[in-house]
Structure formats: C-alpha cells, structure tokens
C-alpha cells in the first residue's frame, strides 16, 4: 500500500482563552490518494479547527501531522508556506479572490510563487484549470464582474494550479445556491474520479457529504464515525 497523502496522529488542540478547553481529542485518520472525503459534524465540534491544523496554517497543536509521509512538526514558517504552496490547495467558504488582479492572474499567483515554471507555462496551466471548471471565457475579467458561483470556481482553479497533493475545502458550498452547489460538487467528483485528486471537504451539508466516498463525522472534538 502506498503512503497516505495525509496522516493525522493523535492530534489534540486546546483553546486557552477565556479558559482551557480541549477542542480536539486525539484525532487519528488517513487520507489515501484519490480519496474524496468529507468531514461533517455540528457547528463547534472542531471540524474547521482540525482543517486549519491539517492545512499547516495553525501550528499550535499536539500530535503529529504527516503530509506525503513528511513530518510537519518543527518546520519553520517559510517552509510551511512552501508546503502549502506546493502540496495543498485551499477552497474557503468565501472565495477570497484578490480584486486587484484579473481572474487569470488570481489563478496564476500560487503558481508564480512556486517558481518552478515560467510565467507563460503557468498561464497555460491556469487556462487548462479554468477550462476544466468551464470558465475559461472569464479569464480576463476582474473577480467583481463574476457571479458568486463563478468566483468559487475560480477559487477552485486557484487551488488546483500547482497540482496539489490534496485539496482542502472549508464549507466551499456554504455560500452557494442549490444549482451552484451541484456544479461545485460535480467538479470535485470529477477531480477525484478522473484526475485521481485527493479531496478533504469540511461541510455541514449532509446531503453533500452522503455523496462523497467517505464521511468522517465528528462530535465534541472527536471522530465518531469514519
């Protein structure tokens, strides 16, 4: 069996303010390559907190996190930034596109930051990703000229630009209507099944979760089903 793309070993986290609470209690699980997993649970159960730890943005936790078999503990801020850049694609509830740049440039930015390809190659890749998402015609528009659903698709294209190991989503459909949710879900499914992309999506939309390959259910900071 190949190395899992993501491994969480005994991850715990405490909030100290206003008083000590354990929000995550020894979380253990693995995600394999090409797996489309979702994390569900009531709000406040710690699922977003877990996601931010898994995405390396939050470093204040106990336990170990391995990405592609590589230990994340003890890495410096700049190294973690590089890991996020290269191996993780992130989709948020809000699209978080930069209004100062065109759609194309927004998608290209993480690729330019990675600095492995020339800017014309990155541009080519960006067009490819936009095509997969069916919005290549909007490439030269500014983000504020797009609809909510389109913006979220641009954000997904941005997450994919560096061919990440895993795409993480924090309620990526939370702000979308039924039709757009459907579109986004289909895109995720297509990515997982056709491009063998690993995905880990936090959601409280149970209908959405039911249709993923695997459901991880959390309650009070612990996994109760996976």
């Amino acid at each position: 069996m190949s190395t899992p793309v993501l491994q969480a070993k005994d991850i715990s986290k405490y909030f100290h303010d206003p008083y000590d609470i354990q929000v995550l209690k020894k979380i253990n699980f693995e995600i394999q390559k090409g797996e489309f997993a979702s994390i569900i649970g009531k709000s406040g159960c710690g699922k977003s907190t877990l996601l931010y730890i898994l995405s390396t943005m939050d470093t204040d936790y106990e336990g170990d996190l391995m990405l592609d078999g590589e230990m994340m503990r003890g890495k410096k801020e700049a190294d973690l930034a590089r890991v996020r850049n290269e191996k993780i694609g992130f989709v948020f509830q809000f699209h978080y596109l930069l209004n100062e740049f065109s759609v194309l440039k927004n998608v290209m930015l993480p690729g330019l930051k990675l600095n492995k390809l020339t800017s014309s190659e990155v541009e080519e890749h960006a067009y490819e990703k936009l095509k997969i998402l069916g919005i290549e015609n909007e490439a030269l528009k500014m983000p504020n000229q797009l609809s909510g659903g389109q913006k979220q698709r641009v954000a997904i294209a941005r997450a994919l630009i560096n061919n990440p190991l895993i795409v993480m989503g924090d309620e990526p459909t939370g702000n979308l209507d039924k039709k757009n949710t459907e579109i986004v879900f289909d895109i995720f499914k297509e990515l997982a099944e056709e491009f063998n992309q690993s995905l880990l999506i936090v959601t409280h939309d149970n209908e959405f979760a039911e249709r993923t390959h695997r459901i991880i259910e959390m309650e009070d900071g612990a996994i109760i089903r996976m």
Binding site: A81, F90, Q93, Y96, L109, D170
Partner: protein, 416 residues
C-alpha cells in the same frame, strides 16, 4: 522572476489606493524639495558671505609689530617687583627685515599657493580745506588679483591700469564719493611725512564693507614705496595663501619662529565666520530632516491603513503559500516605491526651485559682485537628500510590514 511577482503584487496594492499613495509620495517630494532648496540657498549664502571676508583675507598674514623692550633696564638690576617703565619702544620702521629673502623662501615652500607683498601707507586725502584719513595699500597687482580676486572688487575702471599708469590710484568707493573724484581725475594726498602728491584715479574699489571702502585705496607697490621715500625692498606685510587652509595655524606658528616676525592665521583672525557657517548649515539640515521625518510618519500611517484594509489579501496570500517574509517584502517594496519616486521628483523640483532662486535679481550696494541670489549646486546635497528619502521610507515601511507579515490567516479567514 520571484522579485517580479512581489513587484506586481506591490504595484496592484499601490494602484488600488493610488490617491493615498500619491499623497504619501507628494509628502516625500515636498520635503525633499524643501531640503534641497533650503540647503542650496543656505550654503550658497554662506559661501558668499564667507567669501566676502575669506577671499580677501590671507591664510597667513606676516607683518611686523612695534614692541616695547621686553625687559625694562631696572629688571636687570633687581629681581623684586617694579613699576617703572620709562623706556618706550624705539623709533623703528614697519619694514619687514630681509623681506626679499623671506618672500623667496615662502614662494619656494610647497604648501604655499602664493604670496602677495603689501606696503601700508597712512595718508590724508585732501579735499579743499579738509583732510580725510586714509590708508593706501601698495600691492603687487598681478599677484593680488591671482590670489585675492582683486579685479572682482574693482567696480569701475580697469584694475590693470594700476600697474601700467604711473602714480595711479584705485579709490575706495566711499572715499571717492566724499572726494567727488571721477575716474580720470587727479587727486591730492598728503603722506604722514608731510609730502603732497598728485595721483590719478583709474578706478573704484568696493569691498562691500562700508568702513573699509571709506578709508582704503589701492596703489601699486612701487608708488607706495615712492610715497614713503623708501627703497624697493621696503615691504610691510606679506599675505600668504596656502593650498590647504586648515594648515594655517601650524604654518603661521612655524613662520613666526623661523623669520622672527608676527604671523596670524586666518582661523584666529576670523573665528566668528566658521561658527556662523557651521550653525547655519546645521539649522538647514535640522529643518530638512524634520520635514523628511514628518513625511515618513505620513507613509507609516498610510501603510498601516492599507494593511488593515488588505487584511484579507494578506491572509489569502499566506494561505496559498506566501511566507511572512514575502508579505513583508511586498509592503517594503510599496514604501520604497513611494520613497524613490517621491524622492526623485523632490530632487528634480528642488533643482528647479533653486535655479529659480538663482535667477531672482539680488542687487545690493554692499555686495558689488552679486547680481542674483547665490545658490550652491553641490551634488552632495542631492545625494544626501536621495539617500535620506530612501532610508526614511524604508523605516516608515518596515514597522507596518512587520505587522503585516505577522497576520495570522486563520483568524482572518475564520472571522468571516
């Protein structure tokens, strides 16, 4: 490539708030403009005022002074206190002994730029029944002009006539007005020995210092010697100009010992000028630097605001793999862009305004050689202004950018 990316992000952020950016840059431009203008004008003025005195003052002035005998005869007899000082200085000429030899030795000294000999003659200008006090300076015309820019102070007539026209005089402007003498007229003077001599006026001299112009006039060395009835070796003063003015005190001391004469250096003679110059320059720098620091605070404020406004942008950049260092670079680039462009325009406008001032007519009786306001175009001030604008904006950008680099993306993203 990497830097290009940082640059393009900085540019986008800058243009997103271009009005504020412009205000910040104008602040820098204004302060650099004022810095350059102020310093150019101030040091130009300083140079002119100093030149007024220093150009005309020898670096080392060698002359003879009449001293009383150091020991009164009674001192040889008793060691006790005495108050008898009956022996007065003896009647002695003010002539520098061995002046020809000293002159030659000085001219051979490698530290010396040149030596101009002078003869001082006390005279009276005769105007009808009235006699006015006067001092004639007998000068070596060519040397005096080379070392002390004599010609610049001759406001009418040709200074060379002093050399070629026998028994000629260049009158001080103030004296000429009192005597009612025009160029070409003959005037009459009386020497301290009672001889009356006719001299032909070939020009006017104006130093800018009224008291001097009322009294002083110039004749050639030979004429002065003739007025006193002395030989052509009679010299009362030697005016030495050095290659390096700062060595003057040491050299004056040395000459005093070697030639047994009085020697005064320029620093001792004109101590107040250096002090005045230094303080005026200091004030200009203080004002200029204050302006720049105020501009720096402006940039600091604007960047701080920008960071609060662009919190989301910073957070998402970090989430997608930009490190804190990259974010810091972005904001420092923004600050430096403001500094560099603001500074360049400041230098340009500073130059423009100073050359404007340079063309404003400025005529005053006291300063015959000055036609417009003096400006000093020393490139050093432009260099200092440029460097300073970059340094202040760097620091103004450093603190906000450090704050930006510490933005925690999790807090921003979850807060939505």
């Amino acid at each position: 490539m990497k830097f290009g990316l940082i640059l393009s992000i900085s540019k986008a952020l800058l243009l997103a708030r271009w009005k504020q950016t412009l205000v910040a840059a104008v602040g820098v431009t204004f302060s650099i403009t004022m810095f350059i203008t102020l310093l150019s004008f101030m040091t130009g003025l300083n140079k002119m005022l100093d030149g007024l005195i220093l150009n005309r003052t020898p670096h080392v002035h060698i002359y003879k002074e009449i001293h009383p005998s150091e020991k009164q005869p009674i001192d040889f007899e008793s060691t006790g206190h005495n108050f008898i000082s009956s022996v007065k200085p003896k009647n002695d000429l003010l002539d520098l002994r061995n002046s020809a030899v000293i002159l030659k030795a000085l001219r051979d000294d490698s530290r010396v730029l040149g030596v101009s000999p002078k003869v001082n003659v006390q005279v009276f200008y005769n105007i009808g029944a009235v006699d006015l006090n006067g001092v004639l300076n007998g000068i070596d015309v060519a040397e005096e002009n080379r070392l002390f820019t004599f010609s610049e102070y001759v406001v009418e007539g040709d200074y060379q006539d002093l050399k070629y026209v026998p028994n000629s005089i260049i009158l001080g402007k103030g004296a000429a007005e009192k005597i009612l003498a025009n160029v070409g007229d003959n005037i009459q003077i009386t020497t301290s020995k009672g001889e009356r001599v006719q001299l032909k006026v070939v020009g006017y001299f104006q130093s800018g210092l009224q008291d001097i112009d009322k009294v002083q006039s110039y004749v050639s060395l030979a004429t002065a010697q003739k007025l006193l009835g002395e030989s052509n070796s009679y010299i009362t003063d030697l005016q030495v100009k050095l290659k390096d003015m700062t060595q003057a005190p040491a050299i004056a001391k040395e000459y005093k010992q070697i030639y047994e004469v009085e020697a005064v250096d320029i620093q001792t003679a004109n101590a107040q000028f250096e002090t005045g110059t230094a303080i005026r320059t200091l004030i200009s720098y203080a004002v200029g630097i204050t302006l720049l620091i105020v501009a720096g605070f402006g940039i600091y404020n604007i960047l701080n605001m920008m960071i609060y406004e662009k919190m989301d942008t910073i957070a998402i950049l970090k989430a997608t793999g930009f490190s804190g260092k990259d974010v810091k670079r972005v904001f420092i680039t923004i600050a430096l862009t403001i500094g560099v462009f603001g500074g360049l325009f400041g230098l340009f406008f500073g130059f423009l305004i100073s050359s404007g001032i340079d063309n404003i007519p400025f005529k005053t009786e006291a300063l015959p050689t000055i036609k417009t306001y003096p400006i000093n175009y020393d490139p050093r001030y432009y260099l200092i202004g440029g460097i300073f604008s970059i340094v202040t904006t760097y620091f103004a950008g450093y603190f906000p950018s450090r704050k930006a680099s510490k933005v925690d993306p999790v807090i921003i993203i979850r807060g939505k």
